[in-house]
């Protein structure tokens, strides 16, 4: 029986949603049996992931961040974090890390309840987040025999990719990463196989960009943050380069095209949103522990997120970048270098300014995440810059990724309501 058939009492879901749910569940099932089936497993991170390359070596792909957020959505992360804190991990540091370590300490059962496999390769793609480096050093303590491969991706400090940066990443891929993957997997590298996967990636990327940019319509047919995190799910994780992902994005695109044609707003957990009152750009990751509650605070007020930066954390495609089968390794390098948190503050600010303008937004909201210095440090300056440049109001709230202790619903709701009122007043004055 399919997932769709099993469910009967859930909110309205379109085909793409069911499809994605099945893909995720299947991947967890695959991971849970990988060790006994003899399939090699690679753990790796979302930003700068080299999924197509891992597929060339038949690795099953495990993403610790998505495990943490899936656990948070199932209200499991709080206990895991406290478990890690009990053995000396500071309250001050990234809760993704602690949720991951806590999950291992509590028996290493994944979000769906299935056992997580022992990894054969820790593929440390160090892109846009310093904490990743420490994270895999910590995970390595749990699997001392597991090989760790480091792909160091330099930071785009001056807002552009230099030849030196690209050459450095490509050289690591050729001389270190690929030989390590060959050794661990026992599979010989075939560049044509990589090209084939990239052809699939390109198609999916085209469709994803269409979907995200559909929010330029009024009303927006999507919520580019709360809905957006579902849309990026397959392409940011184990599925980019697969035909399943290509099919998913083709299906999704058709659904969105139909919504645009019908002049419909986004689908929320409580059905189609009726009236679009506020168009907001959001910077920063969402809170996962109270995801539905957080989203409700928006749609209850008629607020739609029309663009978000979080949906660029695993790849910025709306600037034209696509994986290139003609130059596979170079384009993997450019992909890694171009992920959102690997961009410098001026580039991130420019992107937000452009979003506010291009998507005809009423303002900018920053959801500042306690756990994530990569995103958060500097956001208050970005906020001021955007207000100055666009003349649109901006607001700031603070939550956390997966630590339920740092989501204060009353405070967040209060701030959001005040912000929406401010937009209304500003609009009234202008009218």
């Amino acid at each position: 029986m399919s997932v769709k058939e099993q469910a009967s009492t859930v909110a309205e879901k379109e085909d793409s949603m069911w499809k994605q749910k099945e893909m995720i569940n299947e991947n967890y099932e695959l991971l849970s049996t990988a060790n006994e089936r003899g399939q090699k497993v690679a753990s790796t991170f979302v930003p700068g992931n080299i999924n197509e390359l891992l597929m060339c070596f038949d690795f099953a792909r495990n993403f610790p961040e998505t495990n943490a957020l899936q656990n948070a959505m199932r209200k499991k992360s709080g206990g895991m974090i406290m478990e890690a804190e009990k053995i000396g991990h500071s309250e001050d540091v990234c809760t993704y890390v602690k949720a991951d370590l806590g999950m291992m300490m509590k028996g290493n059962k994944g979000p769906t309840g299935l056992p997580m496999p022992d990894p054969d390769l820790l593929m440390l793609s160090y892109t846009g987040c310093f904490t990743f480096m420490k994270w895999f050093e910590l995970v390595r303590e749990q699997y001392p025999k597991c090989e760790t491969a480091m792909l160091h991706v330099p930071y785009q400090a001056d807002g552009n990719i230099t030849k030196n940066m690209r050459d450095y990443v490509v050289k690591q891929l050729k001389e270190d990463i690929i030989p390590t993957m060959e050794r661990v997997s026992g599979v010989k590298f075939d560049i044509d196989r990589l090209r084939e996967y990239m052809i699939q990636s390109q198609k999916a990327e085209d469709d994803l960009v269409y979907v995200l940019q559909s929010a330029k319509n009024k009303p927006s047919p999507i919520d580019a943050y709360f809905g957006g995190v579902y849309y990026i799910g397959p392409i940011f994780t184990a599925f980019r380069g697969t035909t399943a992902a290509t099919d998913y994005y083709a299906t999704l695109r058709k659904e969105i095209e139909a919504r645009v044609a019908a002049g419909l707003g986004p689908i929320t957990p409580e059905g189609v949103m009726k009236e679009e009152k506020y168009r907001i750009v959001v910077e920063g990751p969402p809170n996962w522990t109270h995801f539905r509650e957080f989203w409700k605070m928006f749609y209850d007020e008629g607020a739609v997120v029309v663009a978000s930066t979080y949906t660029k954390v695993g790849g910025v495609y709306d600037n034209g970048f696509r994986h290139d089968p003609q130059n596979p390794l170079e384009s993997l390098a450019d992909y890694c270098l171009g992920c959102y948190t690997n961009l410098n503050l001026p580039a991130r600010t420019d992107m937000l300014e452009k979003y506010v303008e291009d998507y005809q937004a009423d303002g900018l909201l920053i959801n500042s995440i306690k756990s994530c210095n990569s995103f958060s440090a500097g956001q208050l300056l970005m906020l001021r810059e955007i207000e100055q440049r666009t003349g649109k109001p901006a607001a700031f709230i603070e939550t956390d990724l997966v630590d339920p202790r740092y989501f204060s619903p009353a405070n967040v709701k209060n701030r959001l309501e005040s912000y929406f009122q401010m937009i209304s007043q500003k609009r009234d004055r202008a009218a």
Binding site: V93, Y155, A157, D167
Partner: protein, 387 residues
Amino acid sequence: MSVQKIVDRCQALYDDLDFTVVKEWKAKEEGRKAIGYMPVYVPREIIHAAGMLPVGVIGGGDQLEVIHGDAYYQSYICRIPRSTIELGVTGRLDCVDGMLFPSICDVIRNLSGMWKLLFKDKYVRYFDAPQTYDDKIGGKFYVQELRELIEGLEELGGKKITEEAIHNSIAVYNENRAVIEDLYAYRSKCPWKALTSEIYLLLFAGMVLPVEEHTQLLRDYLEAVDKEDRPMRDNCRVVLNGTFCERPPLGLIKSIEMAGCYIVDDDFMLVTRWLLEDVPTTGDPVQNLADAFLHHSAETAAKYVDSYEAKGQFIVESVKKYAAEGVVFAAPSFCDPALLDQPMLHTALNDNNIPFTAFQYAENSGQMQPIREQAGTFADSIKLWSA
């Protein structure tokens, strides 16, 4: 010069939040330029070779009232960027013509972009360093990074930086590191004479003084302190770890000492001890600096350790080298590198039966009593229970 006089001078430099000594150095000759840099490491040799003054910017410490800086940061971000912003927006850093932000953590990395937005007329460079140490891969990348730094400083200074100038600067910094090594060796031998609260100030002086002057100051101190008659106490010997970026208040170091601990190794201002061997003064100087970084540099939380077996061994070795009896971890609150690293260092110490204690601080921490009590209890436990 007496020890007191030297320490007083260093204390004055430490307390001076207006970088007067930098301004005075610049005023001596028209066109002189100063380049600020943040922890942990930049190749100061290149700045020196450009005829510029490298200036370590280690936040504002506990004497700076942060008014503007707090408006730029959430409560869960460490202190050093907010006090650095405070120094910048209040004009105290106007005397530096450029700023270098090394790749130590996401906060300092993002601060480089903030600096670009806030101080558009300044030279700003995020100084990226490889986390892979193969000469042909990380080494090649790093050499090019160094060359781009050279080009940037040449443009700023309006003159070429010659190989000969870099060789000379390498020699000058080799000398400085050698004296610092002597200082650490001396402290290990006579920790009751060379107090860490003084060594901390001496190292801080090296953040703002020209290197040649700093080297001489260190020599003067070593000569003077050896003549001092200071009481030897029944303290335990500890390694202090975690202080490599945000500066600990001087009161914290004094508190640890007063609680019965002789600090015999530390990670203050690591830029002064980052390179562990002399850099050759012949051949390609840029390649030499790269080789030194890749193969002969210190370990800290900001650096990737590529094997499980090697993780944390540096601190075990430090304990052995300096005959320490335990480790005191003092990490700044909200410091991702230090705090994420610590559990792994704990493992390495546990595996070697080395006792440790841990607490957090901020550059503006004022209440030292809890720290004194914790450090005192730790010292007592070592004295009473260690074999």
